[in-house]
């Protein structure tokens, strides 16, 4: 679930924007170079952008909370295209979702970039990279990357919510409460994301091994 427009106090909204824009800038710079060197990677970039948009829009209601969870898709994008590019794609997907479905928002864009785009991409990619280093198979590494990216996204979102909404409670307690209440839906979703990320990566590796160079599936 993305933080909606209007929830964050103005100082926090601005505060999240600063690191988010730094990551986005870095992602765009990387992406610019890629598009210049490999004009043929445009379709893949567009495709992954659309893909993140769709995946992170599948709403699964959280019982009793009146809010929704969803998978992220950014770990997969990061594994296939690298984490920086994935940040840019995640950011764009978030912006478009805000515009078309009021899912997320403009002032909360920075916060959402940090959780889903930055957190999902870097943690997902990091776990994948580490697992590959430790000798895990492609499918397993990618799957765990997906799982970790998904969970971390929600951990960060919960922290952002806690910071904004903790009131008189401690931030930690609020965080735990928020994070905990997402778990019943988010654990199954994270497991779905595990299978799904692993499935797609293995599928692409098997069917289009020739693409892997362009796809930058790094070992």
């Amino acid at each position: 679930m993305h933080i909606p427009e209007g929830l964050l106090p103005i100082d926090q909204a601005a505060g999240w924007y600063v690191p988010a824009m730094a990551f986005l800038g870095a992602g765009l710079a990387k992406l610019k170079r890629r598009l210049k060197e490999q004009p043929s990677s445009r379709p893949l970039v567009g495709l992954m952008g659309a893909f993140v948009f769709v995946v992170s829009l599948m709403p699964v209601p959280v019982p009793g909370l009146g809010t929704v969870s969803h998978p992220c898709g950014t770990p997969l994008a990061a594994i296939l295209l690298g984490p920086f590019t994935a940040v840019a794609l995640g950011a764009v997907a978030l912006l478009l979702q805000a515009l078309f479905f009021a899912h997320g928002g403009i002032s909360s864009w920075g916060a959402n970039i940090l959780s889903m785009a930055v957190g999902g991409s870097f943690v997902g990619y990091g776990v994948y990279w580490l697992m590959r280093r430790l000798g895990a198979g492609l499918g397993l590494a990618a799957g765990l990357g997906g799982l970790a990216g998904d969970i971390v996204t929600y951990a960060i979102t919960s922290f952002q919510l806690a910071l904004a909404l903790h009131g008189q409670e401690s931030i930690a307690a609020t965080w735990l409460a928020a994070f905990g209440s997402f778990m019943p839906t988010q654990i199954p979703l994270a497991i779905a994301e595990l299978f799904f990320t692993s499935g797609v990566v293995v599928f692409v590796a098997k069917r289009r091994a020739d693409l892997l160079g362009g796809l930058e599936v790094q070992p």
Partner: protein
């Protein structure tokens, strides 16, 4: 049918006066409204914003079902906020629910936040549904957004429609060979569809990128924003005035 995507107003209805307002004006107004919305410490400002947006939506005579659907996300979230604030925010306890104390002030604060969420959501919805993405991108360029950023927006948007078209095409192909005639077949078919969708959209995209390159690789449907019309200037003035008034109200914390 690699074209379905390019219909740039797939998400925006185009017949209203709202759609005719220059996207630069709309972007600036939206930024103003969202800022004052966040600055607000009383319910007055978000209430005025929400009311103004509802009026705009009604005046635009857009399909109401769509509008209701669009505001569903922020609205459901509002419930979450009220619940969490009632528990966390503090103030006098008016009831207990299991391990939780329910606070009156918290509930009021939660309601205030919900109002802000709905008002902010409405602002974004009005922008989103009245502005074809192509025009929005032109405005972003005018505001000096990085070219790569704008390009990724356009690519993503385009492939969104590509994916949708390819999805339906493939599902029709499967259906006509009985791929969805039972739950078991449906499961197998959906798995195949997921995998094939990815590669198919990619293949097609690659080919149409090649085709573009062959014909010069310029921007598709290039265009530029015309000079601001009288309508645009009017809209700019009106929204600037409203934002100004609301900003004063917000800073002075007028109202309940």
């Amino acid at each position: 049918m690699s074209g379905a995507h390019h219909n740039s107003d797939g998400f925006a209805w185009s017949s209203s006066f709202l759609a005719r307002i220059d996207p630069r004006v709309k972007l600036a107004a939206v930024a103003g409204f969202l800022c004052v919305n966040l600055l607000a410490r009383t319910a007055l400002v978000p209430a005025v914003i929400a009311a103004a947006m509802v009026l705009l939506m009604l005046a635009s005579r857009a399909p109401y079902r769509r509008q209701l659907l669009m505001i569903a996300f922020p609205s459901t979230f509002a419930i979450f906020v009220v619940a969490s604030q009632t528990v966390f925010h503090g103030g006098s306890v008016f009831a207990t629910l299991g391990p939780f104390d329910l606070h009156r002030d918290g509930m009021l604060h939660g309601l205030f936040l919900s109002l802000r969420i709905v008002a902010g959501g409405l602002v974004v919805v009005v922008l989103g549904v009245s502005t074809p993405l192509n025009r929005l991108c032109l405005a972003l360029k005018w505001f000096r957004a990085p070219a790569t950023f704008v390009e990724v927006i356009q690519l993503t948007y385009r492939y969104l429609f590509d994916m949708r078209a390819e999805f339906f095409r493939m599902r029709d192909a499967q259906r006509s060979r009985l791929g969805w005639s039972s739950a078991r077949h449906g499961l197998a078919s959906s798995r195949m569809l997921g995998g094939a969708l990815f590669l198919d959209v990619y293949e097609r995209g690659l080919r149409s990128a090649e085709a573009m390159r062959c014909r010069g690789a310029g921007p598709v449907a290039a265009g530029s924003l015309p000079r601001l019309s009288r309508l645009d200037l009017g809209a700019a003035l009106a929204s600037a005035a409203l934002v100004m008034v609301l900003a004063v109200a917000a800073l002075m914390a007028v109202g309940p």
